[in-house]
């Protein structure tokens, strides 16, 4: 053996411990995962703060400003919730698929297809603009659900029948979906050459809080729409499905060990297609809710990447639908606050750092990190 380097010796004298990483051999305590996630979140904010300081901002002031911009008054809170709505539904879509370890990266495309299918109800038209609101919205929601589900079914079938990697197919199908949408807004449904469809008739608008301003004056100008309720109900149902139903048990088992699932008599192929369809359907519902509740027409820029944010949200929520709801509000806030501060990329940057810290923090749940005292010779 070569002589140990003196620098290493000095280091050892100053810090007579060795970091030892051991695999955990028992269940982690229940309180640990949320604590680790929270710690990762705090760490991400600190790292973001360092970046803010580096570009000459005051981190604390910036964060405060961002918080005010997202939660400061009823108006912005409502806007935050509006932004959170599609994220919530996309987060649920990803949570469901990820539970079965189906990496659906295509919520974005499914979102667009859902929006497109819902628009088709109005623009084709399937129903006349004079149809009752309730019927119109129901038809649009069904269309959005089916549109997204069919878009999700393609990668699901390819995975189940031919074992095609769903990461690639779902990702690629995003581009097809966006181009498909563009074709319609540029050509078929274009309003006088503009890259957008005509505005939907009022019957296709989801009710907003502002619509009830006459009865409840504080609601004046509030943009939060029915989509939020849909999202919350979906979260509750999905929680029951994943944690309480037999199908949810099958999904969990298949996600953990598909061979054991097959051995236990579960039709893994069928579940793959079904989960991809339901996941796509939820993302499609997000698309429907966005055009019906916010945009009121089909256009190109209906999503600043909600489908991709959904991935982060699902992960942050540890794939628990009930946790997806608050996390999406946090991310809605980040999007909203991003408009308020310069450079506006800071919000995106924070999102990235949060995901990074969060995924890294998983190590703490699998391994125990200990400092072992090094014996001095």
């Amino acid at each position: 053996m070569a002589e140990p380097k003196p620098a290493a010796e000095k280091w050892k004298a100053a810090f007579p411990w060795r970091v030892s990483i051991e695999p955990r051999i028992t269940n982690v305590p229940r309180w640990l995962p949320p604590l680790v996630s929270l710690g990762a979140l705090v760490l991400a904010l600190v790292m973001g703060g360092i970046v803010l300081a580096a570009v000459g901002g005051n981190p604390l002031q910036t964060y405060l400003h961002m918080a005010r911009a997202a939660f400061g008054d009823l108006g912005v809170l409502s806007d935050t919730l509006t932004k959170a709505t599609p994220i919530l539904l996309c987060g649920l879509a990803c949570s469901l698929a990820f539970r079965m370890k189906l990496w659906n990266i295509g919520a974005e495309g499914q979102f667009f297809l859902g929006a497109w299918a819902a628009s088709a109800v109005v623009l084709l038209p399937v129903l006349p603009g004079t149809a009752p609101k309730f019927l119109m919205l129901l038809a649009m929601a069904m269309a959005g659900l089916v549109g997204g589900a069919l878009w999700g079914a393609v990668p699901g079938l390819l995975k189940a029948k031919l074992n095609v990697n769903e990461v690639l197919t779902t990702l690629m199908m995003n581009y097809i979906a966006i181009s498909w949408n563009n074709f319609f807004i540029f050509a078929v449904w274009s309003e006088r050459g503009f890259q957008m469809s005509p505005v939907f008739p009022n019957s296709a608008w989801m009710p907003r809080l502002a619509d009830y301003a006459r009865q409840v004056p504080v609601f004046a100008g509030l943009t939060t729409h029915l989509g939020l309720v849909v999202g919350l109900v979906a979260a509750a149902i999905l929680w029951w499905v994943l944690y309480r139903s037999q199908w949810g048990f099958e999904i969990q088992m298949t996600g953990d060990n598909p061979r054991a699932a097959r051995y236990a008599g579960i039709n893994v192929g069928r579940n793959t297609v079904l989960v991809m369809m339901l996941s796509g359907g939820l993302a499609g519902l997000a698309g429907m809710s966005e055009i019906s509740g916010v945009v009121h027409r089909l256009q190109g820029a209906i999503s600043p990447g909600y489908g991709f944010t959904g991935i982060i949200v699902a992960w942050l929520a540890k794939l628990n639908p009930l946790v997806v709801a608050p996390v999406s509000i946090l991310f809605g806030a980040l999007i909203l606050a991003g408009r308020e501060i310069q450079p506006s990329g800071i919000a995106k940057l924070l999102q990235g750092i949060i995901l990074f810290c969060l995924i890294s923090s998983e190590v703490l749940l699998r391994y125990r990190i200990r400092f072992v005292r090094v014996m001095q010779a």
């Binding site: 051999i25 028992t26 269940n27 029951w240 309480r244 139903s245 037999q246 199908w247 949810g248 048990f249 969990q252 088992m253 953990d256 060990n257 061979r259 054991a260 699932a261 097959r262 051995y263 236990a264 008599g265 579960i266 039709n267």
Partner: protein, 533 residues
């Protein structure tokens, strides 16, 4: 310096894995220019011993001398530096690269510029020298298995190996390729190389080896025998042992109706090659049918066809007269087929799920655990807690993820689940493999309890002792066929015959039977009792 006569001398090698003594003071020596066969059942410690020599494992104690020099082999790199190269059963090749690229992979030269043509020339020359016909600029995925094996040999020769360890080299080869390989091996020995040939196929060993060392349960039972001084029967006995190690408490019991009948079933393995060839067997209620055989002769495929996990290409499987083959796995489960899979962690359990979830892996969809379309979680947990106590599963709680359990406890989880389903037929695959003595006894007791309760049991095990002591009848599987069947409680001569059948030396229909002495009639017990149905 005088020429060393021994290429390798290993003395008193002890190698221990958790719960297993894989090598128990093993001595082994390899002479220069010989083919030395290492013979033994699966798990006898052959590969472990050779992995020690190849620098993969470091033994607990023992010494290794290479060409009369004491050495310490810390890594495969150390070993190859001493001229020792091992060719593993699983080839370690990059399919998308050429033969030459594969051979150069991991070497210090070439450093930066590949200069492939130059090296291709060298590889081609080396190949010519040893008669290893393979095109140096072919991509590996285009090669047959036999050619890939030659690439592996070339890889070792290129690195300057003169001691070659071949781990079951014939397992993957077709008969013609085996002849070619033997030719190559003889050629290499003529060039002064020394070869260790690991195998459990008796015929091949007798054919190729200059000397034979037999391992059984980590100990040497015969060292450096010459094939001419011994007989296949003798070898088989040394391999599978003679004395029954333990006796199960098994009362005689008349078999009931036929529960399982496998009729002329053929099936392919994962590689698309025939794994089962028109296999037929029957298991009665309250009877244990033991399937003896060396691994890789179609046992897992047989279990998978019966449980619906694998399609059969011919024949059918009947459970109490109803067809269950080529139907979804759930059909077999619902008709009462229990299955203790060979691979506990990869197939039998979901590692990150709790003991509760794993115990309810099949019961979740049935009354009373199922409630409408939901799972009654409190009831599932109570059910699990009861099973945990009954089957003595050692764990802090039923909420513990099963990946934290030891092999024995994991097996108890699987047994508890499969037995509590009240199966009419139990397919038990290697139920005691890798378990410690206490756990083994527990598992065997449970299998005998099943028999007593009238369940038909199909027991597949590589432990001949276990099969002999538990089974009412024993069938021997070799290359996807049942080559013989006899009643349990075998006498020693029958044991020998089973050993021969397992190694492909004796087929009741086609094999060379002449070398076997006739078995005396009086041996064994009351054969009529449990004879062929």
């Amino acid at each position: 310096m005088p020429e060393a006569t021994h290429a390798v001398e290993m003395r008193g090698i002890v190698m221990r894995f958790p719960g297993v003594l894989a090598n128990d003071h093993v001595d082994f020596d390899l002479r220069v220019g010989e083919i030395h066969a290492l013979l033994g059942e699966n798990g006898a410690g052959k590969s472990t011993l050779m992995n020690v020599l190849a620098g993969m494992y470091r033994p607990e104690s023992g010494t290794i001398r290479v060409r009369d020099q004491a050495v310490e082999l810390r890594s495969p790199r150390d070993a190859i530096g001493r001229g020792i190269g091992m060719i593993h059963q699983q080839f370690m090749l990059v399919p998308s690269q050429t033969v030459t690229e594969n051979i150069l992979l991991g070497l210090d030269e070439p450093r930066f510029r590949l200069r492939l043509p130059h090296y291709e020339g060298r590889v081609a020359q080396l190949a010519r020298e040893f008669g290893l016909h393979v095109d140096p600029h072919c991509k590996v995925w285009q090669l047959s298995v036999g050619e890939q094996q030659r690439v592996e040999i070339l890889k070792m020769l290129y690195r300057g190996a003169n001691i070659l360890i071949m781990d079951e080299p014939t397992a993957v080869l077709a008969p013609q390729e085996i002849d070619d390989l033997f030719g190559i091996l003889r050629g290499m020995v003529a060039e002064g190389k020394s070869i260790v040939f690991i195998s459990h196929k008796l015929g091949e060993v007798m054919q190729i080896a200059d000397r034979i060392t037999v391992l059984r349960k980590g100990q040497v039972t015969a060292a450096g025998l010459s094939p001419s001084d011994t007989s296949p029967m003798e070898m088989a006995r040394l391999m599978v042992g003679r004395a029954v190690q333990f006796r199960a408490d098994k009362e005689p019991q008349p078999p009931g109706d036929v529960v399982l009948s496998v009729e002329g079933v053929s099936a392919l393995n994962d590689k698309g090659l025939p794994a089962l060839r028109e296999i037929s067997l029957r298991v009665h209620a309250g009877e244990i049918l033991g399937i003896a055989g060396v691994a890789g002769n179609g046992q897992p495929e047989l279990a998978e066809v019966i449980t619906g996990l694998r399609k059969c290409t011919a024949g059918r499987v009947l459970l109490r007269g109803q067809v269950i083959s080529n139907r979804p796995p759930r059909v077999a489960i619902e008709r009462g087929v229990g299955h203790i899979p060979e691979d506990r962690r990869e197939v039998g359990t979901a590692p990150n799920l709790s003991i509760t979830d794993n115990l309810n892996l099949k019961a979740y969809r049935k009354h009373p655990i199922a409630k409408g379309s939901s799972v009654d979680h409190p009831r599932a947990a109570r059910h699990a807690a009861a099973l945990k106590t009954q089957y003595e599963i050692m764990a802090p709680s039923v909420g513990t993820a099963v990946r934290f359990l030891s092999g024995g406890n994991l097996q108890r989880v699987i047994l508890a689940r499969e037995i509590s389903e009240g199966p009419g037929l139990m397919i038990a695959m290697q139920p005691t493999r890798g378990l410690d003595v206490g756990a083994i006894e527990g598992v065997q007791r449970l299998l005998l309890d099943l028999r007593r309760s009238g369940t038909a049991v199909l027991l597949v095990s590589e432990e001949l002792d276990e099969i002999v002591c538990l089974s009412d009848r024993v069938a021997v599987i070799y290359e996807g066929q049942i080559v013989g069947e006899m009643a349990g409680d075998l006498c020693d001569d029958e044991r020998d015959r089973i050993g021969l059948m397992m190694t492909g030396q004796f087929k009741s229909s086609t094999g060379p039977t002449a070398e076997l002495p006739d078995l005396p009639e009086q041996c064994g017990k009351d054969k009529g009792r449990l004879g062929r149905a």
